[in-house]
């Protein structure tokens, strides 16, 4: 598996993967890492700055929000929300998008035309607006956020992968497989899919970053995972209301989102470079 070796040698992949794994760790072990229950309100200690500053309290290492909830705990549990959405939504979008992309690109003709037109119409809807409107229709909640992201973003997978499927399909070895007697299913799974897999993996990684941002936006606006689940976007919205009292409340969730998305982007970019056959053959010449 020299592809694996190439990935592991890439600096970008390692750094990106490192960041992602740290966030994932926080998400998985949130109950053990967080000092307090994120929904515990302590109205006597609202809008406290981080512990190392003048009015800080060591019980709340990064301060508290407007309802007295511990910022650090909310940040760690927010990672759980973000990662859950990121992973589930991107795999969902990938599943739908890639199946339709392969069907459209491989079979061509009427099927390709129909799927192409559906994607065109779907993508005419700007994603931010579309996801907001979907949330109006679906209501708030973690599962609704995931569903909204899947419904909006599958088209991106579909469009990009379809171009790649078309390129691969032109290669003579796909035709040769059919001539040898492979069924359509076998040809797609044994000849086409291995070639599109690298791009697919890259897109999933990038999609995870996008999903984190969308979740944050929806939570910011108040149409996200709901009031009982901690979310970075909601923390930002809260801090913005009280920006002069607690600037740190704004800083940490922004940093969290930035790091997570950077991690996924570096990982995706690194994977793309490591797995792109054209780049590889150019380098090896």
């Amino acid at each position: 598996m020299d592809m694996l070796k190439r990935c592991l040698r890439s600096g970008r992949v390692m750094v990106g993967l490192g960041i992602v794994l740290v966030i994932l760790f926080c998400a998985l072990f949130a109950p053990y890492l967080a000092p307090a229950d994120p929904n515990d309100q302590d109205l006597l200690h609202i809008l406290l700055p981080p512990a190392w500053m003048a009015d800080g309290d060591s019980a709340f290492p990064l301060g508290t929000d407007s309802l007295g909830r511990d910022e650090l705990s909310r940040l760690i549990y927010g990672a759980r929300t973000a990662m859950t959405v990121a992973i589930v939504a991107s795999f969902g979008a990938m599943a739908i998008g890639s199946i339709l992309a392969h069907v459209a690109g491989y079979f061509g003709g009427a099927i390709d035309w129909i799927i192409g037109r559906v994607v065109d119409v779907w993508m005419s809807f700007p994603p931010v607006i579309f996801s907001l409107i979907l949330m109006v229709g679906l209501g708030t909640g973690l599962d609704k956020v995931i569903l909204a992201i899947v419904l909006v973003d599958w088209t991106r997978f579909c469009r990009v992968l379809r171009s790649e499927v078309l390129v691969v399909k032109q290669r003579d070895y796909v035709a040769a497989a059919r001539l040898i007697g492979f069924s359509h299913w076998r040809t797609v799974t044994r000849e086409v899919l291995p070639a599109t897999l690298p791009l697919l993996i890259t897109l999933v990684s990038l999609e995870m970053g996008i999903a984190v941002v969308v979740e944050a936006i929806l939570s910011f606006v108040g149409l996200g995972v709901g009031a009982d689940l901690p979310a970075w976007g909601q923390m930002i919205a809260d801090a913005r209301q009280h920006i002069y009292d607690s600037a740190s409340g704004l800083f940490f969730p922004i940093l969290a989102i930035f790091l997570t998305v950077t991690g996924f982007n570096l990982l995706g970019d690194g994977l793309r470079r490591a797995l792109d056959v054209r780049l590889i053959s150019a380098r090896e010449q």
Binding site: S124, I129, I236, I243, N265
Partner: protein
């Protein structure tokens, strides 16, 4: 060429109509599958069931879905988008009021994104092979990771709150009275001969415009750089060198034009996202564009506003795509019919 251009324009505009219809249908159906009842939401909590039912009939929500859609469509074509429940205003009039502000912001942001994107792309390309290349590359990947809403918050935080350098709410300082000639504030201030107001307006727009511009320029930078790299692999560049042309002449006279084409395609897509990104940025900066009414409407399930504003965003993004396609046709001779 003009003929081909007009034909393309006509064809795309005509093709947009079914797309828009389908988008409207999509919009419409999503909004009718609500977990909340708009009629109930628009009445005070003390309303009786009978009153809510009456309101629902009044809003036309009791009729079958396709019928509701056709009624809405018929009204929309006449410019009637319904009345906002919460704001008690005509939805169409609201859009007319707020659209110019959003357009101005978007245009300013697009200019910034173009300048930064193309300039940055050239810089990245220039650095190829040097030690700074990796640094620049990582920097652009990192910048790519910052969405417009984080930029907006970050710039507000840094320049607005911490440094107190620039204003970050509204369009004009509170004591100015807004002139209203065309609806486009920047234009209006110049038309009425108030350069001081013009500069004040510009200052208010700097942070939000830069937030958008900074968010969308990294993608442009990277595509320009990789397009230039691709073009330089082409045979004709080597031939130009063999014919003795200087590197500068090759870059400006040949490579750039070839590399601009794929970059332009991406810019079209990015500008579409940019325009819809104004929504959040306007919310963060309390900028009086379409963003704030939309977010409020979404929170309150105010259907007429959601429909009218949502549709407006879609139409503008579609127009941007068509404009970019036309520009592409102008620049690429292979697409023209001879």
């Amino acid at each position: 060429m003009l003929a081909t251009l007009l034909q393309l324009l006509a064809r795309r505009l005509v093709a947009s109509i079914p797309i828009l219809l389908l988008v409207c249908a999509l919009l419409f159906s999503i909004l009718r599958v609500l977990p909340v009842d708009p009629a109930a939401m628009s009445m005070p909590p003390t309303a009786t069931i009978a009153e809510i039912d009456a309101k629902r009939r009044d809003m036309g929500l009791d009729q079958p879905l396709p019928q509701q859609f056709l009624i809405w469509l018929r009204d929309a074509v006449h410019g009637q988008f319904g009345r906002s429940i919460q704001l008690r205003r005509d939805a169409g009039a609201l859009v007319a009021d707020t659209l110019p502000a959003t357009v101005e912001l978007a245009v300013m942001a697009m200019v910034i994104a173009t300048v930064l994107g193309l300039g940055g792309g050239l810089l990245l390309f220039h650095l190829r092979g040097s030690k700074l290349e990796i640094v620049a590359d990582i920097a652009s990947t990192v910048l790519l990771s910052i969405p417009e809403f984080l930029w907006a918050l970050f710039l507000l935080f840094l320049f607005g709150v911490v440094l107190h350098l620039l204003p970050f709410a509204g369009r004009l300082p509170p004591d100015f009275v807004r002139p209203n000639v065309t609806g486009f504030l920047l234009l209006d201030t110049l038309l009425v001969g108030r350069p001081d107001m013009f500069w004040a307006a510009v200052k208010h727009m700097i942070l939000p415009a830069f937030a958008l511009g900074l968010a969308f320029s990294p993608a442009i930078m990277r595509v320009l750089r990789s397009s230039l790299l691709d073009v330089y692999q082409e045979d004709f560049i080597a031939q130009l060198r063999l014919r003795g042309l200087s590197e500068g002449r090759i870059l400006i006279g040949h490579a750039l034009k070839n590399a601009i084409l794929p970059t332009l395609t991406l810019m079209g897509v990015q500008f579409g996202f940019l325009f819809s990104g104004t929504l959040l940025v306007e919310v963060i900066y309390s900028y009086p564009g379409m963003g704030n009414p939309m977010v409020d409407a979404v929170r309150n399930a105010d259907l007429p506003i959601i429909q009218a504003v949502g549709l407006t965003y879609c139409i503008v993004v579609l127009l941007i795509t068509i404009a970019v396609d036309c520009l592409y046709l102008v620049l690429n001779p292979k697409l023209r019919r001879h």
